[in-house]
């Protein structure tokens, strides 16, 4: 499935990096955080233009037909800069569900996601915040040939800006997925977030008209794919963020002088940076393995072991480097103005979004057969 060479992926990295230099610097990020939509529409269009949104969309639906290996390049860069975008909700979660459903009716939506015209989100989580693939309290019922959704979803990544919602709901034939494109009987609320660079909403449905995606009862299998894709994507993002924290710490340790010497010459600081480097190397290896594994066998194992390993190792690396980066910077690292806290916020948020270390431990053991 992987159809690119290393130099081609480096070209892709350069073009994404170039865009982020232009539309994703500290000022742009601050503007995006304060904006209504939560992201820069100019950056989003530019990402669409270089093809960053269509990498994993199948060729039949107007995409490039590549895989996680290619998408990892984009996600690392987005993680490095923490440029706020609806990439996770739209391109990773919603698009993966659309593709995994195998439903040809999803193709027009995928085309519009690939071109940047549609923003989308996946609504799975309910009141307890847990990732689940069944036992939804949100219900879908047929009403004279039209499906109608009733219930409430929490923690919907990019849910407020989404033109298209992919919603998991219970039906008489089991857990199923539905598409919601209208705003009729949909109540969305942007939530206060730990991570200031990623928007999360709650969405409530009250007899909302919806279209069935795939077949009734399909939701668990599709959502398993989405879970793995999300873990693999977060891992790539986390590697980019962890490396950014390491780079910032090393640069500061060379620049900052105390007691008449660069603080990076003190072993206490140098070893902290070496520890960060080791975490980054390990995380990068895990994210790479998870991406290759996902593309090698998109329909399960051993991708699932590598994805859970990557989610554990990369979450830890991002959290560790974000924490240590603040410490290397000292007082300045604890200010609102300095970006260090954004990485800390993103790290904790990504670590916990799918249930956190305890849940992922059980996920990994299940996949290892323990």
């Amino acid at each position: 499935m992987t159809g690119t060479t290393v130099p081609e992926r480096e070209d892709l990295r350069r073009s994404v990096r170039d865009l982020l230099d232009r539309f994703g610097d500290d000022v742009a990020r601050q503007d995006a955080i304060g904006s209504e939509s939560g992201h820069s529409t100019r950056l989003w269009s530019a990402l669409a233009e270089v093809g960053a949104l269509s990498l994993t969309v199948p060729e039949a639906a107007g995409g490039a037909g590549y895989g996680a290996v290619e998408q990892r390049v984009v996600l690392e860069e987005l993680g490095r800069t923490l440029a706020p975008t609806p990439f996770l909700g739209t391109v990773v979660q919603a698009a993966t569900a659309l593709v995994a459903s195998g439903d040809p009716a999803a193709h027009p939506h995928l085309e519009r996601i690939a071109s940047g015209a549609t923003l989308a989100a996946l609504a799975v989580t309910e009141g307890d915040g847990r990732w689940r693939t069944a036992h939804f309290s949100t219900r879908a019922e047929l009403d004279g040939g039209t499906w109608r959704l009733t219930g409430a979803k929490d923690l919907v990544v990019d849910g407020a800006v989404a033109d298209l919602l992919v919603v998991a709901a219970a039906t008489e034939s089991g857990p199923s997925l539905f598409l919601v494109t209208s705003s009729e009987a949909v109540e969305r609320k942007e939530l206060r977030t730990l991570d200031l660079t990623r928007r999360i909403a709650s969405v409530a449905f009250d007899g909302t008209p919806a279209e069935l995606l795939g077949s009734p009862g399909d939701a668990p299998a599709v959502l398993d794919r989405v879970l793995d894709a999300t873990m693999v994507a977060l891992a790539a993002e986390q590697v980019g963020a962890a490396r950014a924290c390491l780079d910032a710490s090393v640069a500061y340790a060379k620049d900052r002088v105390q007691f008449g010497r660069q603080i990076g010459s003190f072993q206490a600081v140098k070893h902290r940076c070496a520890d960060m480097f080791a975490k980054v190397q390990l995380a990068s290896a895990a994210a790479q393995e998870a991406a290759h594994s996902a593309d090698r066998e998109p329909d399960r194992a051993p991708a699932d072991v590598a994805a859970a390993v990557a989610h554990s190792v990369c979450s830890e690396a991002a959290m560790f480097t974000a924490t240590e980066n603040i410490h290397v910077h000292g007082g300045i690292g604890f200010t609102w103005e300095h970006p260090a806290h954004l990485y800390f916020r993103r790290a904790k948020s990504s670590q916990m979004l799918l249930g956190g270390p305890a849940a992922n431990a059980e996920r990994l053991l299940a996949r290892l057969g323990v």
């Binding site: 090393v250 080791a278 390993v309 323990v370």
Partner: protein, 430 residues
């Protein structure tokens, strides 16, 4: 080393890797990943360092020699060696690739020959030895007949290796050597040792060292086993008392021994990709630890499960890192800092696993009740402190990562310009 690497074509490496696999397929069995553990079957031993009887030690050395002869005959015994001394004339990358592939097979452990002698001393003799020294030692070493050791560390020269105090003074057409070496692996089996000796104490420490090849059977060489905290005696102390060495066994220039030592140390590679095959690999694998938990009734304990999962995540990620490093070399890339990182991770992973296992075993870790797979964890547990010390302490490794990889500044000051004679020494020397 680098001038040879630059001309290596990836296709050559792939063909080489394939020829190595062909040879190994024909000569040995592949190590299979164990998915089910039969608890209580086999020897109840979980060790990192050997603790053999003298008879067992001799048997293991003989097996190592036999395997070295087999792979030497097949062209894989001295991959980097000059062809005129019987080597293959290939690059260090070829060597790394072979080692990583061999780690996938069940072959005799050749560490006694290869870790120090073939891997480090041999290349040093090639680079710095006289024709006489090369002809005398190299063919025998690579044919598996001669074992070499490294007489470097001393009680007052550990991380600060250039601080050696073993004296060598001119005496006719040779040198007379007096001093003490320590932590010398395989000295009890060795026929030759490479010693760093102080020949000029009036210049800074790096500039007054000379490297000499010492006949381990010479008069005045005394090897005493050094028992380590885990109980066995893997290492030795070597006492050198008026040992006489011909000048033709000198490596490099007089007072130029530091660059000889650097050649040796540059060849000390944490073998990329083979960490997973360490002696404790089975014990810290998922199936073995899961079986241990089952035996001890904590397979459903959420705290124990979480620790197991975190251990396995880090171990698996470390194995991904090692395998990617190997793939990188096979596709023609240069060695990166992965080996240093891998060494840090390896020691952390084993240490965590040993403490985890001890906790799962519970009180039976404190005394040998005869239960299988319980008290036997002690040997691994008691070996873990060494993993952070040997082959460069964790602290020195982190300095190297910080300074050479991340470009952080060195500590200011230091003793590089002070004559050796005037340096401060530790009050007690051990």
């Amino acid at each position: 080393m680098s001038h040879r690497l630059a001309h290596t074509e990836p296709t050559d490496l792939e063909a080489f890797a394939q020829s190595a696999r062909d040879f190994l397929d024909a000569s040995a069995d592949r190590l299979e990943d164990e998915t089910e553990v039969e608890w209580g079957a086999g020897e109840d031993r979980i060790s990192y360092f050997g603790d053999e009887t003298p008879e067992d030690a001799t048997r293991l050395v003989d097996a190592a020699r036999a395997w070295q002869k087999t792979r030497y005959a097949a062209g894989f015994g001295w991959i980097t060696g000059p062809e005129k001394f019987g080597g293959r004339g290939l690059s260090a990358i070829h060597d790394l690739i072979y080692d990583s592939i061999e780690a996938e097979y069940d072959v005799p452990d050749t560490g006694v020959l290869s870790l120090i002698g073939l891997g480090m001393i041999g290349p040093t003799i090639v680079a710095h030895g006289s024709d006489k020294a090369k002809a005398e030692y190299l063919p025998g070493m690579y044919a598996g007949d001669l074992i070499a050791c490294q007489l470097f560390s001393e009680p007052n020269a550990g991380s600060d290796l250039a601080n050696v105090s073993t004296r060598a003074v001119r005496d006719g057409n040779g040198w007379r050597v007096n001093g003490q070496k320590v932590w010398t692996s395989v000295a009890q089996h060795a026929q030759v040792g490479l010693a760093l000796c102080r020949t000029n104490p009036d210049v800074p420490k790096h500039r007054g060292i000379t490297a000499l090849l010492i006949d381990m059977n010479a008069s005045g060489v005394e090897v005493r086993p050094l028992r380590q905290m885990s109980g066995g005696a893997e290492f030795n102390e070597v006492f050198l008392t008026d040992v006489w060495v011909y000048d033709s066994y000198r490596l490099g220039e007089v007072d130029g021994g530091w660059s000889v030592a650097l050649t040796t140390l540059m060849n000390e590679r944490a073998s990329v990709g083979s960490e997973g095959a360490g002696p404790a690999a089975r014990a810290i694998s998922t199936p073995f630890l899961a079986a241990l938990m089952g035996e001890n009734g904590c397979l459903d304990d959420s705290h124990a499960r979480r620790r197991l999962a975190e251990l396995q995540a880090d171990q698996l990620a470390t194995s991904y890192l090692n395998r990617q490093a190997l793939d990188h070399l096979i596709s023609g890339g240069q060695p990166g800092p992965e080996a240093s990182v891998s060494k840090l991770l390896y020691s952390q992973n084993i240490t965590r696993a040993a403490h985890f296992a001890a906790e799962v075993v519970g009180p039976r870790i404190v005394a040998d009740t005869g239960a299988w797979g319980a008290f036997s964890w002690n040997e691994l547990l008691l070996s873990t402190p060494a993993l952070r010390i040997l082959g460069g302490t964790e602290d020195i490794m982190k300095n190297i990562l910080g300074e050479r990889v991340l470009g952080l500044p060195k500590e200011p000051g230091g003793d590089a310009a002070t004559p050796y004679r005037e340096l401060r020494t530790s009050r007690s020397g051990s």
